[in-house]
Amino acid sequence: MKRMLVIRIKRCLACKSCELGCAIAHSESGELFGAILEQPASRSRVRVAGDAGFAMPLQCRQCETAPCMGVCPTKALNRSGVDDPIVLDHGLCIGCTWCVMACPFGVISLDEQRRAIVKCDQCFDLVQRGRLPACVTACPSGALTFQTSDDVSREKREACLVEFRRAAGQPGEAV
């Protein structure tokens, strides 16, 4: 089942560890001290956005009907199965940046050094090996998780239930 990067906004402390974790995971060496020396520099696919008192990590939502895929003239953006993330075929990308314009969240950008676009691939190679996406592993405060939408809705229903019970004067634990 399709899993997604879930953001728990109240937990984000804006430390930007996810940005480092992402750039390291997408580097050649795969480790901090080697990654920072590489040229072209590895790019983070997640960006912590926000202002004073409010911050959240933003990365590709892997939309079901993805505008970026729709506008890509060379079919460089693709997903191999319905549950899979949208990944870029570097050989096909012509850097036209239509996808940058089409993305409703501003999470696709042009890598100035590689002259191609960069976007979150949900660390599909790590995930295939049973690991979590790098931003999730890097987050020290639990603001990022990797879950199915079913899991997320169930958790939200349980949280609602607690509220309803309290309102009805029957405090109790979530199931």
Binding site: S17, E19, A23, I24, A35, I36, T137
Partner: protein, 658 residues
């Protein structure tokens, strides 16, 4: 992620046993907390997180994304250098405040205010008084001690000129300090000045900030640490070679086991005396124990080992393993390197945790402040509380590993004379000759901490063995010395098992171990003074930077190690550390520390995690210095790796070169 097995955590079988035991009992140790802390913050590791003012905190993205300066405009180089300067100042402060404590203790003892102590190193006292221009004729030991202590204390607050010990440094070393403007003035002043330079908007030039790192470091090595060593020798006695043991096997099943842990020798010295008193021994017997076993952890252990032969229970990471034996009635701590985690671990056993220093209190420890005006009484009071706790020991929880290794410790700059030249013609000449003739390649100080980032002791042992087989004489202090002590490298027999033929010949001739234990981490100042003697003896250059020597701290973790690194490099010595200093987020600073600094100070850093690679770097450095000095080629090929750990039996491996 799978949790590494105990054999991946430590090279020490006793440690592995304790790790397994802790895991069985669901106890969390430093390694578990390290796992839970993963991944470590990259900004912190790279040194490019700045919290020096409240406009931030600021972080620089090392991949070039986002802001490339702090809010004030500080570059990554300024941020990394500023952070490093704070660390150097903190490390220098730690050693120097330790030194101040010893000087104050010497002063109080000279004034007769500390019954229980007497000045045990009068010969060294007279020598130092002469060096400092204090008239010795007709003066009593106490009168001299008072003047020497006051003179030492003056160096902490010195406002004019430079520290007294600066005049010990070779002329060329001093000339470099003067040219760079870093000759250390008052000890406190250099620490304060360095901290000031890091205040928001103060010094904003990376090179100037690194000069501050060096100056704070020099105030430690040629100030606080050297005062700590010299005055400890005067007050508590000069160490002399002695035999003892190291590892958790020194704890005894039917004895009251009391551990001393930390760095300062003053209280632990009184504990040693008090532990032999009838009152304490009777109390042990009354409690049903056969006696009292005192043992040490970290540098307090090294101090009481050097002067009293008290056995060593272990190094930094052994502080938790020792409690897991279930056989420790009390751990008495003073200052530095003491895990606050010991509180919760001790609660799982009967162990009493006692803090004693006004400089370091611990949540959940019992604080019995050491009163030096009634030292022995104070020490007895502490020990008796430990003895009284023996009845609370749960015998079902006692698991003392059998591992312990014999060792020889107690080497000093002065004591090495006796060994090398014989008692009747003390001299560094035999050492210098052995180096010039190519029997000994050079001398390397392997020192420093343990860290959970790598397998405990592995880097120390691998580096030392690789150096020994290349005929390098190794001198040691701190947790590194304890690592080698546990592994049996601090014995004359280790020369048979690990040393190259040239080094083995020298060790055999004079009965020395191939690794010399020179004390605690402040005693790295002994290694500086030994280098002075090597220069003075002549034939190997009159500058530290010319000598075929190097320093290494393969498992460093403390700010103190950073201060040490700066005074060693600042004095002209090539120094290899394991994990890089936290500056890699600034290529400018990293490049200066590993290259440019050599032009200013004669020494430089190298960052190398692989201990064998580190040994190669060191050997290459030593060989280049030997070549520059036109020394004879090495007499022997390096000892083959396959022969390590086995006594050399035939002479076929002794193929002479050239």
């Amino acid at each position: 992620m799978p949790v590494p097995g105990s054999h991946q955590r430590s090279s020490d079988p006793a440690a592995c046993r304790m790790l397994e035991l802790a895991a069985q009992n669901a106890l969390k140790l430093a390694y578990d907390r390290y796992d839970a802390m993963q991944p470590l913050c990259g900004y912190g590791q790279l040194g490019i997180c700045c919290q020096n003012c409240n406009m931030g905190p600021c972080r620089i993205n090392p991949f070039g994304d986002g802001p490339q300066t702090g809010i004030c405009g500080a570059s990554p180089a300024v941020i990394a250098a500023r952070n490093l300067a704070r660390k150097s100042a903190v490390g220098s402060a730690a050693h120097s405040d330790h030194g101040r404590g010893i000087a104050q203790m010497l002063l109080q003892t000279a004034r007769g205010k500390t019954p229980g102590y007497r000045i045990k190193g009068p010969a060294k006292l007279r020598k130092l008084a002469e060096e400092w221009g204090i008239p010795t004729a007709g003066a009593t030991t106490e009168q001299l001690a008072e003047k020497v202590a006051l003179a030492a204390l003056e160096d902490f607050g010195r406002q004019d000129g430079v520290l007294r010990f600066v005049s010990r440094a070779p002329q060329k070393v001093r000339a470099r300090w003067e040219k760079a403007g870093v000759a250390p003035r008052g000890i406190d002043r250099e620490i304060v000045g360095t901290l000031h330079s890091t205040n928001m908007g103060a010094s904003n030039e990376p090179h100037h900030l690194i000069l501050n790192c060096v100056r704070a470091g020099l105030a430690d090595g040629w100030g606080g640490s050297m005062i700590a060593t010299e005055l400890s020798d005067i007050l508590l006695g000069e160490p002399a070679p002695l035999v003892s043991e190291a590892n958790l096997g020194v704890l005894k099943r039917d004895y009251v086991n009391i551990l001393v842990h930390g760095h300062e020798p003053v209280l632990s010295d009184a504990l040693v005396v008090a532990s032999q008193s009838d009152e304490v021994l009777d109390a042990c017997r009354d409690a049903g124990a056969q006696g009292l076993q005192l043992a040490g952890i970290c540098c307090t252990a090294n101090e009481v080992l050097m002067r009293h032969g008290v056995p060593i229970a272990g190094n930094l990471l052994h502080q938790e393993f020792a409690l897991v034996t279930g056989a420790v009635e009390m751990m008495v701590v003073d200052i530095q390197c003491i895990f606050p985690a010991l509180r919760d671990l001790a609660k799982k056993y009967h162990t009493l945790m006692v803090s004693t220093s006004p400089k370091a209190h611990f949540e959940g420890f019992q604080h019995i402040e050491f009163d030096d005006s009634r030292a022995i009484e104070s020490a007895k009071q502490i020990l008796l509380a430990g003895v009284a706790n023996y009845v609370n020991r749960d015998k079902s929880k006692v698991h003392i590993p059998t591992e312990k290794s014999p060792l020889v410790a107690g080497f000093t700059t002065e004591g090495v004379f006796d060994h090398l030249g014989g008692r009747y013609r003390p001299s560094y000449r035999p050492l210098n000759n052995a180096i010039s003739d190519g029997r000994i390649r050079g001398v390397v100080a392997v020192v420093g901490c343990n860290t959970v980032k790598i397998k405990q002791d592995e880097a120390h042992l691998a580096l030392v063995k690789e150096l020994l087989r290349h005929d390098v004489l190794v001198v040691q202090t701190g947790c590194s010395a304890i690592a080698c002590g546990k592994a049996g490298l601090l014995t004359p027999e280790a020369a048979d098992l690990y040393a190259g033929n040239g080094l083995k010949e020298v060790c055999d001739a004079v009965g020395l171990p191939p690794c010399l234990h020179m004390g605690s981490c402040v005693d790295i100042s002994r290694i500086l003074t030994a280098c002075i003697e090597i220069c003075r003896e002549g034939g190997l250059g009159d500058d530290f930077a010319d000598l075929p020597v190097a320093g290494a701290a393969p498992e460093w973790m403390s700010d103190k190690a950073i201060a040490i690194g700066f005074y060693v490099v600042g004095s002209g010595v090539y120094t290899v550390v394991g994990d890089p200093l936290p500056v890699m987020g600034s290529p400018v600073v990293a490049d200066y520390l590993t290259n440019g600094i050599e032009k200013d100070f004669g020494g430089k850093f190298a960052f190398e995690k692989d201990p064998i690679q580190a040994a190669r770097l060191i050997i290459k450095h030593i060989d280049s210095k030997r070549e520059a000095l036109h020394l004879s080629p090495m007499m022997f090929e390096p000892r083959p790796v396959e022969s390590l750990g086995k006594p050399l039996v035939d002479d076929s491996a002794r193929a002479a070169v050239g």
